[in-house]
């Protein structure tokens, strides 16, 4: 099995998303695609998978020229994709989502529900998922929705499996299971291509690595010939600068900003915590441990059943909505950027300043220029390319959309940022810039609470980490105690210290 791309290019108006790419993917090898945000990785997979029509070039499958008119057409040729953005149907059950478009049939018109359940049990055990096939997908966490998507792809018996950032939404355990599945596919001779911004993952999982930069393939070779540094230089086009950021000094005791007691609601049960001014608090835990719910409760996006709220030492009623939390300077960044974050038909600049138009307007009038200027200031802080501000945000690559949303949060000048997976899908360079921006905020007395499935990120950024398990906080780590391995162990609840 092999896939060969020759001279593949894609233009969107004036944008060259991909240019003259020649690439061969071989069965029995895992091929990683890396590159900065907007480098063209998703476009490349989209072209192979029938989602995107290339402007130039051709694709050969096992030496035979193919042009796929749609994802369905590609799938019928054994080319199956997992997309960067979730593409599940929230109102349908897990079972029906997994087999949508490829249901085992009893007759031409009806499906075979017994066969479907058997097949579900098989694919679920293959990936180690324990998800009730009969619940609605919309009620699952983003991580579990991603698992549904992976099961859907696997159940189609792919000959070519294209995975765009499949691990970005997964917790440590699910990631591990996915690596196992990838190895299994490779041993079966399947062509596996995947995109990831996690270079350790890329180096550990793949056999070959191709680096994209500005729509061009700028390097390709077996993984053992790459190192983290050589990948970085290839991605950004010059050697990476040495990171001058010192490790943050041990946090000085600062004033308490927010205190929450006896908070319950949704998956969260009886959590108490405090956040101090100038502090970055991380929240670790597995998918489904209640991390996101905790942020949503504090953000006013979800009603708690019980909970006491104390801001600046003053007892107050729990904020009844996102708006009322925002009025107190608490700003929330969603983990589901496509469904709950972006306004795809507005420009990136408009998306960024949305939410705090006060300073943008002059005598009540919002001009394009002032929108741009304000967006520019916020965008710079997270490494967003100024030239893309007037593009519709829907046309940006996934990682660049994420940066824009972060800029939106910063533009709101929050006292407390509640960020759910703030760097999901963001390239390595931008990750650093975002880390720095968050640290800046903390240094100026603001506070951050962040959920991340990448524990390295928590270890690097946080002054304190709360580990959640089954809706409760089971441990609190400070300064030097914050270690990746400790967090992993605690996340599994095997060392419930409290």
């Amino acid at each position: 099995m092999s896939v060969r791309l020759s001279n593949i290019g894609k233009r969107y108006g004036a944008t060259r998303a991909l240019n003259g790419v020649d690439l061969t993917l071989t069965g029995g090898r895992v091929h990683a695609l890396v590159g900065e945000n907007g480098a063209g990785k998703s476009t490349c997979l989209g072209i192979i998978g029938g989602r995107t029509v290339p402007s130039t070039g051709e694709i050969e499958l096992d030496g035979e020229r193919v042009t796929f008119a749609s994802p369905a057409h590609a799938a019928s040729n054994g080319v199956v994709s997992i997309y960067q953005e979730l593409s599940v149907i929230p109102s349908m059950s897990v079972l029906h989502n997994v087999f949508l478009g490829s249901e085992p049939r009893r007759t031409r018109w009806t499906d075979d529900s017994a066969a479907m359940r058997t097949a579900y049990a098989q694919v679920a055990s293959r990936i180690g998922a324990d998800i009730d096939p009969d619940v609605e997908v919309g009620s699952l966490s983003v991580g579990d929705q991603q698992m549904v998507e992976i099961m859907r792809a696997l159940s189609r018996r792919p000959r070519v499996m294209l995975m765009d950032e499949p691990t970005a939404a997964l917790g440590p355990r699910e990631r591990q299971a996915l690596y196992g599945v990838i190895a299994g596919l490779r041993d079966e001779g399947v062509v596996v291509a995947f995109v990831s911004h996690n270079l350790e993952e890329v180096l550990g999982v793949s056999d070959d690595i191709s680096v994209f930069r500005d729509g061009e393939l700028c390097g390709s070779g077996p993984s053992d010939q790459w190192s983290r540094d050589s990948l970085m230089s290839a991605m950004i086009g010059h050697p990476p600068q040495v990171d001058l950021r010192g490790t943050s000094a041990s946090p000085k005791p600062r004033k308490e900003l927010l205190r929450v007691d006896g908070l319950s609601g949704g998956r969260v049960e009886d959590v108490s915590l405090d956040v101090r001014a100038g502090e970055i608090v991380g929240i670790a835990g597995l998918v489904g441990s209640g991390r996101s719910t905790l942020l949503r409760l504090i953000a006013g996006a979800q009603r708690p059943t019980t909970g006491r709220w104390q801001l600046d030492g003053v007892k107050q009623p729990w904020p009844s909505s996102v708006r009322s939390a925002r009025r107190q300077g608490i700003v929330y960044l969603t983990e589901d950027r496509k469904a709950q974050g972006i306004l795809p038909e507005s420009t990136t600049a408009e998306n960024i300043v949305l939410g705090r138009l006060g300073p943008v307007a002059r005598r009540g009038i919002v001009t394009r220029r002032s929108v741009r200027d304000h967006a520019d200031v916020a965008g710079r802080q997270v490494g967003f390319a100024t030239t893309r501000l007037s593009t519709n945000i829907g046309a940006l690559s996934g990682g660049n959309q994420q940066k824009a949303l972060l800029a939106r949060v910063l533009h709101a000048k929050p006292r407390l940022i509640l960020a759910d997976e703030p760097t999901r899908g963001v390239d390595v360079g931008a990750k650093d810039e975002i880390s720095r921006a968050l640290r800046d905020i903390a240094d100026r007395g603001g506070s951050v609470m962040m959920v991340s499935s990448e524990y390295e990120e928590l270890a690097e950024n946080c002054d304190r980490v709360l580990v959640m398990w089954h809706g409760t906080v089971v441990a609190e780590l400070r300064g030097p105690d914050i270690g990746v391995d400790t967090m992993v162990k605690l996340s599994f609840g095997t060392e419930g210290l409290t």
Binding site: A72, W109, T110, V135, G288
Partner: protein
């Protein structure tokens, strides 16, 4: 970035530890609430039937029941088709025009040819009108709301031209059988409505096509990426509702003994009301046919009550409008709590 760790790939696979809730059973209160929402049309029906029995001592008389069902069969047909269309995430506002076309074309044709071929041709014309809607929405990429509003205007205009803006008297013997006849005491119109219910329910719940209807309405982009033939599914829904609307128009025309171009001015709103009262989400992706059927009975009983109270149609219209608003608001509240 100083500490290069390999933990991502070397973490132990701890499958032994118990897994946090993947989709934990909802709390009891919530489940009761959901059950109430699910069976709301049935509960409403029970309440209204009780009210009607009290207000109208002839409510349970076979003649009254038969009339109620006969008069609402045409509406039921349109509403069943509309349920599929709305679950698929689109609207069809042209059903009123197709309905009128059904009555006019059926009457005209039956004056020329036998009833059965006349009926079949009329249904096919309805289906073709649906195909036109599908073309406008799918291929011209016009929003279905606007698109079918416009095609409705076109269809309606054509009907007026066809019949020269005046009612078409049906002359063939047996023309009224479809609307008023009975087989073994059961109204023909009711038989047709029940058959349509069976057909639509079987399609929606028993077939892969039905699953696709839900998928397309739930998230069309995702459905496309997953390999669902989104356009074909929508087209089938438009064709189906077109055929059913024409059939509905035939039934009403047959009851009146003529083809009437002004018919159906309210049918789109009424069908929409019924679908929404039945709890089918106007956002697409959710709904059930049996609930639409219960809602038809709700509306029928309501009309019966209004008549017992001797309310005129203007007051009935106000009441119906308010009920629709309440039903849509309920739907909105439910989907808001989904997003909370």
């Amino acid at each position: 970035m100083t500490q290069v760790s390999k933990t991502m790939v070397t973490r132990p696979d701890d499958t032994a530890s118990s897994r946090p809730d993947a989709g934990r059973a909802r709390s009891g209160v919530r489940r009761v609430g959901e059950a109430v929402a699910l069976y709301a049309p049935v509960l409403m029906l029970v309440v209204l039937v009780i009210v009607a029995s009290v207000l109208n001592d002839r409510f349970w008389a076979p003649e009254n029941l038969r009339n109620m069902l006969t008069q609402n069969s045409a509406l039921a047909l349109v509403a069943f088709g509309m349920t599929l269309v709305i679950i698929a995430g689109v609207f069809d506002l042209s059903v009123g025009a197709i309905f009128a076309a059904g009555s006019v074309i059926f009457a005209m044709l039956s004056n020329e040819v036998l009833l059965l071929p006349a009926a079949l041709i009329t249904v096919v014309v309805g289906a073709l009108a649906g195909a036109v809607n599908a073309y406008v929405v799918n291929s011209l990429r016009v929003n279905s709301f606007i698109g079918t509003l416009a095609t409705g205007a076109v269809f309606s205009g054509l009907v007026y031209i066809l019949c020269d803006s005046s009612p078409v008297q049906a002359r063939r013997e047996g023309f009224e059988t479809l609307g008023l006849g009975r087989i073994a005491g059961v109204p023909c119109a009711l038989i047709v409505a029940v058959a349509a219910f069976g057909l639509c329910a079987a399609l929606l719940n028993g077939t892969i096509f039905g699953r696709y209807v839900f998928a397309v309405g739930g998230n069309a982009a995702a459905a496309h990426l997953t390999g669902v033939p989104v356009r074909a599914v929508r087209a089938a829904c438009f064709v189906l509702v077109g055929a059913l609307a024409a059939l509905g128009g035939m039934i009403t025309g047959s009851q009146l003994g003529l083809g009437q171009p002004t018919l159906g001015s309210n049918i789109a709103l009424d069908a929409f009301a019924v679908v929404v009262i039945g709890g089918t989400s106007v956002y697409g992706g959710r709904g059930a046919l049996w609930r639409t059927a219960s809602a038809v009975l709700v509306l029928a009983t309501l009309t019966n009550i209004f008549n017992a109270l001797a309310w005129d149609t203007t007051r009935q219209s106000v009441a119906k409008g308010l009920i629709i608003i309440a039903a849509v608001a309920l739907d909105a509240a439910r989907s808001r709590s989904d997003h909370a």
